[in-house]
Symmetry: C2
Subunit: 706 residues, 2 copies
């Protein structure tokens, strides 16, 4: 009982209060204080200036979601908001400078993802127009395409679609069934939908607004299918808004959220498209039907073309972190004011944030949000390195794609979990749309499955981990290695974006058991988290060894028998990346008080991961039973340490009321609580309070026994 | 590798197919078959006939939610639907026979909870009118109250509110601040809202429809506060619909879901209510202001009056299970038809339900839903026993309340988790409202915090467990006991509704280690699950020992330091109750094939619980490291065994398309898949298929090396 829960007044003025009244001074001896402004700037990261601009825009009422608006009106509103963004030059940073853009890829995403705080529909519809449709023309097309279409795309005279997904194929893009068959006679492609499952589906801008589309289809010429390519297709007459001949579609109707976007279906019946409309940067068809490509391998060509999709994943990762921040700001502010049940005194009720369970619910998610925020900044810098051309080798691109595939699932699931936990932590008030949790949660729901289903993405990560492992140990017997890893690996610093060299740690030395003694130390946490990833990958490699010598069916069955473990290993890897990003960010904190508090938060993140996977550490002999039992206690002590700084930690996110827009995060609850407490205090002082029947009974009992 | 994933065609006709084609006969040797009809009847339970009637009603389009409807229109629609229910005599079963009811409490809830499949707003608004408002008049009022108001409540001429919760107090009802002060001169109560936090809030029917309300307030007479009592108050003029003088309110506006209900706020400024409007079954004020009650203890009186709330929790438990069934029916049907990625052959893609991860995601939740369904039936029978008067001792009522407080949190959280997992398992299609997951999830969100916040309810359960434990061992040293429990307890059959005698198992004998060897056996699972509850309770009791000798603040701090463990212990207890209910249901299955499949499903439930808490079993020496590592493998084998029966298991829920109303659960996906496969088959047969570029490259490479 060295630390007890802080039960003092927890309003903003007492955020550093300890159990000793004399310590209730900001930065008083022994009580670290957070430098909120400096921490805030660090969180904003490399593109802080652009984020500030974007937040200024996102705070304007014109861009805010109107809750309860009918979806047809909401769609119209968001369409107009896109024009507002154009007018404010907020969305062209990634486009070529010679067309009025900024050639700034990282800054573009940084600004773009902040739009989620205004309305996730706005973020995603803008993403469809400029991040997917416009990006496809830019990255898959060539100069003439840029000159012809990018200006109209940039200024919204050509609202367009990114028509890739079909009803029958989402995650498996290579298997889409729409065909684009080259007709040498007319020098046109014939775009065709062979059956219902090949309709394009869930396509943003398709139901109403889209005048054109980048349509993905199997390119067939001279009897050969060269795989999925992208074609620029005019969908509707710009004046009548009627579909062009041969094109039809349907409205996807109402969705679980994001109803400001007109998602829909498209189908094509022998629609003729000029040969020049093939976006031919990576593959071309000559007038005579001859196919050529600078990339010989069809597989590599496919993945190169799909590489443009990565920016969608990067920006969803950032937007998910932003939404988590909004939710935690609202829920923690409310919990610091709201009182319920008077356990410790007969007059004042407890502040919710002083309850252990409430702390665990909110602070563990706060810690994960910080980890996600720092990890996202690293992802964004990696993205900028690749897309700016600063570091864009094949390996860099693969690292970027794997990193995005690792982080996007975790952050999007985390956002849904955090929004829900915050909504529940605010009780019935949390369910009111005026407090926004339910609205944001509904809108962000689909982030878990679009731009790559989270479960599929984690399997991509797992395959990369296995591939790297195999490359590293091409000539080594896997069985021996796995045992070696299990026995030896520890204490290694994982390469931060770091998938290339998972196996390098095998060469390092040290004792996991020894590291575990220092469960609370950075090195100890790193050893445990790293060891788990390495061991899981090595075990997987052993289990799957020889699968390439089996028949296709047998190999698939063997993989399938380990699918759960593969996904778990990928998740462990992604969590380690988050932990490393958080740890790296600590080294950049100058203020000692901030560093202390953030270190507690990082420890809470690390230990929460270890607690979540405690059975693994115990079963694999990495933690003793006795040591394992200390994890929960240590987490509880961290919660108490973090408690006085919780408001600072959410204030550092830097969102104002114009961004949070949650009625219960305005201080209104404190006003209500103060009014109620003053009423009762006054009543007691004036002797006006009725006597409680229980008190009367107790008095009577006292009189009888006296 | 004794069992491999079934990769045969998984359409409904092949649900019993195994890897051997010769076994593809329903009920063939070695392949158990489920008797879907018989299992369906068992799931319907004691009130099967009423459930059938209610489902017939719930299948009618008049009662269905119209997705995307504006909340004002939705509210009007649901109000009309309530009249429809009255006209069809669907909602009066619990009311007194002499007033046209049926005196059938269990049947009433059984029918009522089925309404969730039509529209959760309908279920909850009906619950407000008859389950809360009407019930309060019935249970807290006396004959004259019944005669005066129940007919109008029953036939909807008096739409009304249950005005208990205030902005400032939800879970802590005893602390609500609205006052009802008796004025002897006028023989009236003066109802008053002293400050903003005391406004009634989140009150169904308050924004628009409510003409009257049962208002809960602190009853003050002769200078004494006798605690919370219920008053019948006319809110609005029935003709003008204007608030009566002194009454005001606000609309709560749009919510995260349930927007067919007009929740709102109410406040009272010295509103005079006749003395006779006190619902005085448990407490009365004479004309001269003298207070009398048949229940001497104010605390017991309060809990008796609040006891009427239990039926809300019971029906939410049932409705949550029903929603989980709808979601699983849709997602499992779709997963049995949907194909994605062709891992095992070059032509046919895999059915989603053959992927290990997909099985784990859906089947573990299917198992929990079965457990929840059987546990709910026991809860409902217990409820009927108490409310029918068959078994309504104080102890019975306490057991009922504790059982409801244990099960409602688990089933409501489970429903949210299941709806979300099913939505994600269906990808983008899952997000479309036409498939209903997102709609149901939004509506059920608040089930986790209303009628008792789940976290608060679990703490009530924990306190009951501790109380029972203390009663049992009043004269025994806790420390000794805890060690005894840890060392000895096992193999005991927990009393099924069973909270009274948690400690009885301490007296039983056996070895947990031995039981663990039989991890797959019923007895082994029971031993592990029971032992965990007992040990956690005993440890908690030890930790909290002597807290009653501390100051109030110190005692509260000590409790708070163990709040997480308290809640975890309560959850473990509730899970054990579900497991026992599932196990008890197995004994009632007559068909051997059904019994076999359900036993696998029960094992999956039990082992999933053990896997979830594996670290506890390892840290506490209940499972060895080696044994622990087998849990995951055994779960994976169970998934494969259950796979061929998955469709039967969801079909047994007995919901037709008029209930499920999910576009992807109609067989439409199978039609699309069949069409696509026929297209490609035909193309191959006709030699019309273009050659894949990859194949050309492979051929060329072959030619070079040849």
């Amino acid at each position: 009982m060295t630390e007890v829960v802080d039960r003092s007044d927890s309003s903003t003025t007492s955020k550093t209060a300890s159990t000793s009244a004399s310590a209730a001074i900001v930065g008083a001896a022994g009580t670290p204080a957070v430098d909120v402004a400096a921490l805030g700037e660090q969180l904003l990261g490399k593109w802080a200036a652009i984020r500030h601009q974007a937040r200024d825009l996102a705070g304007q009422p014109e861009l805010h979601k109107i809750e309860g608006q009918h979806h047809t009106e909401h769609r119209a509103r968001v369409s107009n908001q896109l024009q507002f963004l154009v007018d404010h030059r907020a969305v062209h940073r990634a486009f070529p400078a010679h067309l009025g853009g900024g050639d700034d890829h990282g800054g573009n995403i940084a600004g773009f993802e902040e739009l989620v705080v205004a309305d996730p529909s706005l973020q995603i519809k803008a993403g469809v127009q400029w991040g997917l449709f416009g990006s496809a023309v830019m990255h898959l097309g060539t100069d003439e395409h840029h000159r012809q279409w990018l200006p109209g795309i940039m200024d919204m005279t050509i609202p367009g679609c990114f028509a890739m997904t079909e009803t029958g194929h989402g995650s498996d893009v290579a298997s889409i069934a729409t065909t684009a068959s080259y007709d040498t006679d007319s020098q046109e492609f014939v775009l065709h939908t062979p059956f219902r499952a090949a309709w394009k589906d869930y396509i943003g801008n398709a139901a109403i607004d889209g005048l054109a589309a980048v349509v993905f289809a199997q390119l067939i010429t001279q009897g050969v299918n060269h795989g999925v390519h992208a074609f620029y297709v005019e969908l509707r007459d710009p004046v009548s808004k009627e579909f062009r001949p041969g094109i039809g579609g349907e409205d996807d109707g109402i969705k679980g959220g994001l109803n400001g976007i007109d998602n829909g279906r498209l189908h094509f019946t022998n629609v003729r498209v000029p040969r020049a409309n093939l976006l031919n940067r990576y593959g071309n068809v000559a007038a005579d039907g001859t196919y050529t490509s600078s990339i010989q391998s069809p597989g590599r060509r496919f993945f190169t073309m799909l590489g443009t999709l990565v920016q969608g994943r990067v920006s969803l990762d950032g937007a998910a972190v932003a939404a988590s921040k909004l939710a935690l700001k609202a829920a923690i502010q409310y919990a610091s004011e709201r009182r319920q049940f008077n356990a410790s005194s007969s007059t004042d009720e407890e502040v919710l944030l002083d309850y252990q369970r409430h702390q665990k619910r909110l602070f563990t998610r706060l810690a994960t949000t910080y980890a996600g925020s720092f990890a996202h900044e690293e992802l964004l810098q990696k993205f900028d390195d690749v897309f700016s051309g600063a570091h864009d080798t094949d390996e860099d691109r693969q690292d970027l794609e794997t990193l995005a595939a690792a982080l996007k699932p975790l952050s999007t699931w985390h956002a849904l979990d955090t929004l829900q936990e915050c909504r529940e932590a605010c009780g019935g008030a949390g369910f009111l749309i005026e407090n926004r949790f339910a609205s944001l949660r509904a809108d962000l729901d689909v982030y878990a499955t679009f731009e790559g289903d989270n479960t599929v993405l984690l399997q991509l990560v797992a395959k990369r981990l296995l591939g790297d492992y195999a490359k590293e140990f091409r000539n080594v017997d896997f069985g021996v290695l796995a045992r070696f890893v299990v026995g030896q690996a520890t204490g290694a610093a994982i390469h931060r974006t770091g998938l290339r060299q998972v196996a390098q740690f095998v060469a390092d030395n040290g004792s996991v058991q020894k590291a575990a003694i220092a469960l609370r130390d950075e090195a100890g946490q790193r050893a445990l988290l790293t060891d788990r990833v390495e061991t899981m990958v090595a075990e997987m490699a052993t289990a799957l060894k020889g699968s390439n010598k089996l028949s296709q069916a047998q190999g698939a069955a063997l993989f399938n028998q380990h699918q759960n473990e593969l996904i778990d290993a990928a998740q462990a890897h992604a969590e380690l990346l988050q932990w490393e990003a958080f740890t790296a960010a600590l080294t950049k904190v100058k203020d000692p008080g901030t560093a202390q508090v953030l270190t507690w938060l990082r420890d809470l993140f690390g230990l929460s991961l270890i607690e979540k996977n405690l059975s693994w550490y115990l079963m694999n002999g990495r933690l003793s039973m006795q040591r394992g039992r200390t994890v929960g206690d240590y987490i509880n002590r961290l919660l108490v340490k973090i408690r006085p700084h919780a408001l600072d930690l959410v204030d550092a996110f830097g969102y104002g009321e114009e961004h949070v827009r949650s009625a219960i995060a305005t201080g209104a609850e404190k006003v209500r609580q103060d009014e109620a407490r003053a009423y009762f205090r006054n009543q007691r002082a004036n002797g006006q309070a009725p006597v409680d029947e229980k008190v009367l009974i107790a008095r009577a009992a006292g009189a009888r026994t006296a």
